[in-house]
């Protein structure tokens, strides 16, 4: 049984007004426990709207969302419970910080769960560790931190609830390359330590090609393509049409193929290309 599943999910914003807008239409989606899933798609394709249904923040216009086989809107209590089990990190989460210290801010979620003080403390320290924050930073005001550190603090605020499913909306947007790699590394650490399921919305094709098990591609509120990175990135043309691009290595391999080298179609990591080229050289002697 999939851990999280949607059935014919539709979402229409401002239905019945001149501003009506279909953001998600008829999406059937499932994710297994422990999977690392990437969601890609052009701006405005409905990714953010879609993921806000997975923890019950948005109510579907029609269709349903199931967590462990139970409809999450079955009762008000269950919808609230799901929010703690399915953690959602919004885009630019640093703008939601509000407490006087980083520690207090990370503690907001666990406190809302009604945990004891000792337990809250334990979770905050653990989450700060996962997010790569130093203990000295916990006593600072969140507004003294640098942009990258604020981002970590905000991510820690969700991790502190120990969600079984962690959803992140473009967690690396606007960070420098080093900050990006670190955050992706932190997410992977959390996944391993807690055997968590990760769903990551991203624009960074290089990153997604390295880490995820499966990619879901959104196009105008629908799932246009779904599969392993190898399957998705072999559709270079389709990706181009949708205003996305495959990883650079894939494009290089594509060009080499056009120039006559007999390369495989599913190259999306630099190591693949290296191995392929090595093999070709050996074959030629």
């Amino acid at each position: 049984m999939p851990l999280l599943r949607t059935e014919k999910l539709n979402h229409i914003y401002s239905a019945g007004t001149p501003f009506e807008r279909v953001a998600v239409s008829d999406v059937n989606f499932a994710v297994e426990k422990g999977e690392y899933l990437g969601i890609i798609g052009a701006t405005g394709s409905g990714k953010s709207t879609f993921i806000q249904h997975l923890n019950g923040l948005l109510k579907p216009t029609s269709g349903s969302v199931y967590y462990e086989g139970r409809n999450i809107h079955e009762s008000k209590g269950y919808a609230r419970e799901t929010r703690f089990k399915v953690g959602l990190v919004f885009q630019y989460p640093e703008y939601q910080l509000f407490e006087s210290t980083v520690f207090e801010d990370i503690a907001f979620g666990p406190k809302n769960m009604g945990l004891s003080e000792a337990e809250v403390r334990e979770r905050v320290l653990e989450a700060a560790g996962f997010a790569g924050l130093k203990e000295a930073q916990l006593e600072k005001s969140p507004f003294e931190l640098s942009g990258g550190e604020k981002r970590r603090a905000a991510i820690a605020g969700v991790i502190a609830m120990r969600p079984g499913v962690l959803i992140l909306d473009e967690p690396t947007a606007g960070l420098d390359p080093q900050g990006r790699d670190e955050i992706v590394g932190n997410i992977l650490n959390y996944k391993k330590a807690r055997e968590a399921t990760i769903i990551m919305v991203t624009h960074d094709m290089e990153e997604i090609s390295r880490s995820v098990d499966r990619i879901v591609l959104f196009e105008r509120g629908k799932i246009a393509l779904e599969g392993t990175p190898a399957q998705v990135f072999s559709e270079v043309k389709l990706l181009n049409e949708l205003g996305l691009s495959a990883p650079k290595v894939t494009l290089v391999a594509e060009r080499l193929r056009e120039l006559g080298l007999p390369l495989k179609k599913d190259i999306y990591m630099i190591e693949h290309l290296r191995d392929e080229l090595k093999q070709l050289r050996e074959a030629r002697g």
Partner: protein, 267 residues
């Protein structure tokens, strides 16, 4: 959702009403309001209702939108009705129970008051629904510019107003976003007593204020780096010009108000 509030919102379109000069629309709105207060008796009200419905139809604003916009003011209208029904004294008593007395005069006054209020609100909706905030403040600024002679800072006031109007949707969107983000961490904005609710709103208010200040700062920098230095010597990209249709509209307004006055004199 917060976004669905339509009070004071602009619905772009390309109808005659949309294209009228904003200055003329302001004048016409004033004429409409005056006429509404001068109107008397069934005929006067029927005429005003006819005018309103014609304008609504011309502007292609759907009745649904108007009704949705009325929702927040229903309470005020209800209070007006109740006050009028119970406190207007008259001769023809319809219902009496201890200190509660309902008279025919009371009912009639209540009905007239309610319809006058409703027509007043819907009429002003029509102005904001069909005029972009920028056009509206531009119109206002030009109409009030003679007051600059007595040193009233008309340009600055208009600029403040257009900035405020420009940022209302942004702030609403931001409020929605921060609310969702805090809800994702288990914040509960809609249950509990007064104190609990007031406390629950802190995680929303603080980030909202911080971001509003940040935006104000950024906007000030952006304006300065484009050499904004107040209204003096500033020219406009879109100069307001009156077209024949504006004068037609004015004529229409004059006819309406004249009819209302005549009806009043006759009745």
């Amino acid at each position: 959702m917060l976004k669905d509030i339509t009070l004071g919102q602009f619905f772009p379109g390309n109808t005659v009403v949309h294209r009228l000069d904003p200055r003329m629309k302001l004048v016409l709105t004033l004429i409409y309001i005056t006429a509404l207060f001068l109107a008397q008796g069934l005929f006067g009200y029927a005429l005003m209702l006819g005018v309103l419905i014609t304008c609504l139809a011309l502007s292609r604003i759907s009745p649904k939108t108007v009704l949705r916009g009325l929702r927040p003011v229903l309470f005020i209208i209800l209070v007006t009705v109740i006050l009028n029904v119970f406190f207007i004294t008259g001769e023809t008593i319809l219902f009496e129970y201890r200190f509660i007395v309902i008279t025919q005069e009371g009912l009639l006054t209540a009905a007239f008051m309610a319809s006058r209020l409703l027509m007043l609100i819907v009429g002003t909706f029509l102005l904001t629904y069909t005029t972009s905030p920028i056009a509206l403040t531009d119109g206002l600024e030009q109409m009030l510019s003679p007051l600059k002679k007595i040193r009233l800072p008309i340009h600055e006031l208009a600029m403040m107003m257009s900035i405020a109007l420009r940022f209302i949707p942004t702030l609403i969107e931001e409020t929605d976003k921060i609310m969702s983000a805090q809800k994702a961490r288990g914040a509960d904005f809609d249950s509990g007593g007064l104190i609990k609710r007031a406390k629950a709103i802190l995680p929303l208010i603080i980030p909202l204020f911080i971001s509003a200040f940040r935006r104000a700062d950024e906007l000030a920098t952006a304006m300065e780096s484009r050499c904004y230095h107040g209204g003096e010597g500033r020219t406009r990209m879109k100069v307001l010009k009156s077209a024949p249709r504006d004068y037609m509209a004015l004529l229409f307004g004059a006819v309406v108000i004249a009819t209302v006055v005549l009806l009043r004199a006759a009745g």
